[in-house]
């Protein structure tokens, strides 16, 4: 589910909340079964010579795993930030923040605009006694600062209907001047189970399985050889270093991009790269096949394929 709102002075925009259901095929997350919801208080602060002034205040509330975007648009500067949030095992929040900025740098001799662009991925582990401080213009110690403070909290959603409990909401208590800031909220699947299978002459010789978090850093998925594996495969098993991003809510269950490297483990040395920078778009429930062809030949003349099976993790 998703909700979108632009914090502007227009009353109509303030009151509009766009919520779209992705086919209703996603199960509620594990934590949402407890009836808890997550709430993020978002305040934009102008600090001039130490004097704080709240320019805008809003809140995003939704089921656990609700994501939100904060956009900032001014004459010369644009910020697009995305926050993927998940409850972690420690009872806190795992936040994967992505910051994309675009700053007008000047104009060329031909009058074309020149932009300075920047993109950052910032992972955070956050407790509920902690807040996120976003500084669109950096940490410069100048007299004037613009801050966006994001404070998370768990709220009780037991009094909501099941449908409302799964719906993100945006409440704006103080609009920003000139539509300066925009906020969107989403609820999309974050956790996907990926199974990687190595095939030799069409027969499965190694397999690995793990749950991956959307927009998380790449992590290793070792493929464990079975009894059919040749000695070469068994002695130097493959490791898939995989990451997932760019979830798209296409029907019926959405699609997700995977990016991966394939490494071959060495007994007494660093793993050897077999394939680097491979990628694909996977539909949960379907397979992705890659021909390792000439790049992986543990046995001369062998025909090796790598197969991925992706599905939504339990609780999604």
């Amino acid at each position: 589910m998703t909700a979108s709102r632009k914090v502007s002075s227009k009353g109509a925009l303030w009151l509009s909340v766009l919520a779209l259901a992705f086919g209703g095929s996603f199960k509620p997350s594990i934590a949402s079964d407890k009836g808890n919801r997550i709430k993020f208080q978002i305040r934009m602060i102008e600090e001039i010579s130490g004097q704080r002034k709240v320019l805008s205040e809003a809140s995003v509330e939704g089921p656990l795993g609700t994501d939100f975007n904060i956009g900032l648009q001014s004459l010369h500067f644009k910020l697009d930030s995305r926050f993927r949030t998940d409850l972690n095992a420690a009872g806190g929040l795992t936040v994967r923040a992505t910051l994309n900025t675009r700053r007008l740098y000047g104009y060329s001799e031909r009058g074309l605009p020149l932009y300075e662009e920047d993109s950052q991925r910032i992972p955070l582990q956050l407790g509920f006694d902690e807040s996120i401080l976003m500084l669109p213009f950096g940490q410069d110690e100048g007299p004037d600062k613009l801050k966006i403070e994001i404070t998370p909290a768990l709220v009780d959603g037991n009094n909501l209907s099941p449908e409302m409990a799964q719906t993100p909401q945006i409440n704006i208590s103080k609009p920003a001047p000139d539509g300066l800031i925009s906020i969107q909220a989403f609820k999309i699947p974050h956790r996907f189970e990926v199974e990687a299978i190595l095939l030799e002459e069409g027969r499965e010789v190694a397999r690995g399985r793990s749950v991956f978090l959307l927009d998380d850093e790449q992590k290793d998925l070792p493929l464990r050889p079975n009894e059919l594996a040749s000695q070469a495969v068994a002695e130097e098993p493959l490791i898939v270093k995989l990451g997932m991003d760019n979830y798209a809510p296409v029907q019926p269950v959405g699609q997700v991009n995977i990016g991966f490297d394939v490494l071959r483990a060495r007994a007494l040395a660093q793993p050897e790269a077999v394939a680097v920078g491979w990628a694909g778009t996977g539909l949960p429930g379907r397979e992705l096949n890659y021909d390792l062809g000439q790049i992986y030949q543990p046995r001369d003349g062998g025909n090796y394929h790598l197969r991925f099976k992706i599905r939504l993790a339990d609780g999604e």
Binding site: S8, K10, R52, V54, E57, L72, Q73, S74, L75, H76, F77, K78, L79, S81, A97, L99, T101, R102, R103, L104, Y105, G106, Y107, S108, E109, G111, P113, L114, D118, Q120, I122, L124, L126, D129, E130, S131, I132, L133, M134, L135, P136, F137, G138, Q139, D140, G142, D144, K145, L146, E149, T151, P177, D178, G179, L180
Partner: protein, 190 residues
């Protein structure tokens, strides 16, 4: 030698082309014949006069100009102010005044290489002049790089009552950042 024979060899006698005996016989006849003596003197006078005319070193200016024009490139001749023609004109005031009076009426004709070079030079001058007139004024340089003007705005102007805020007072070119802080440190202001 009689008069008829003398008249036949008179040119040779004056040119002293006769043999020694012939010269003696002709001189003897001149001493004896007055009519042949008059004819001989008249012929010598005519010859001197002709020689004066033939020996003149400076031909008429118009003749010099006409002859030289046959051997000079057309562009130089038609330009009409060559030093040769002016020198010739100086010898004859009539021709000089006529030449100067017709200067403006003469055709201007140049060889292709010089004409092309002049054309290129004119084009270059025009381009340089127009470059200074039409090019955009260079604003103060941002970031110390040549040819980059300071920004004015990022996107199209907002229409209606919606306008874009200017946050440039906060922007000192730093990279956006995200920090974590304890919630109790966040002021509860409104």
């Amino acid at each position: 030698m009689d008069c008829k024979e003398f008249r036949e060899v008179l040119d040779l006698f004056i040119d002293q082309e006769l043999s020694a005996d012939g010269m003696s016989v002709a001189e003897q006849h001149l001493l004896e014949c007055n009519p042949c003596g008059r004819v001989e003197r008249e012929l010598r006078r005519v010859r001197v006069a002709l020689k004066d005319v033939v020996n003149r070193h400076e031909p008429p200016a118009h003749l010099v100009r006409r002859i030289r024009s046959q051997f000079q490139p057309n562009w130089r001749g038609t330009l009409g102010v060559s030093s040769a023609s002016l020198a010739a004109d100086s010898m004859d005031d009539r021709f000089q005044s006529r030449s100067l009076s017709l200067l403006w009426r003469r055709k201007l004709s140049l060889p292709v290489p010089i004409f092309g070079a002049l054309l290129v030079l004119i084009v270059v001058i025009v381009v340089i002049a127009s470059w200074g007139v039409f090019r955009r004024p260079k604003a103060p340089v941002a970031g110390g790089e040549v040819g980059v003007r300071q920004p004015t705005r990022m996107s199209k102007p907002a229409t209606g009552n919606q306008r874009e805020a200017d946050l440039s007072r906060f922007d000192r070119g730093d990279r956006a950042a995200i920090l974590k802080l304890r919630t109790e440190e966040v002021p509860r202001d409104r």
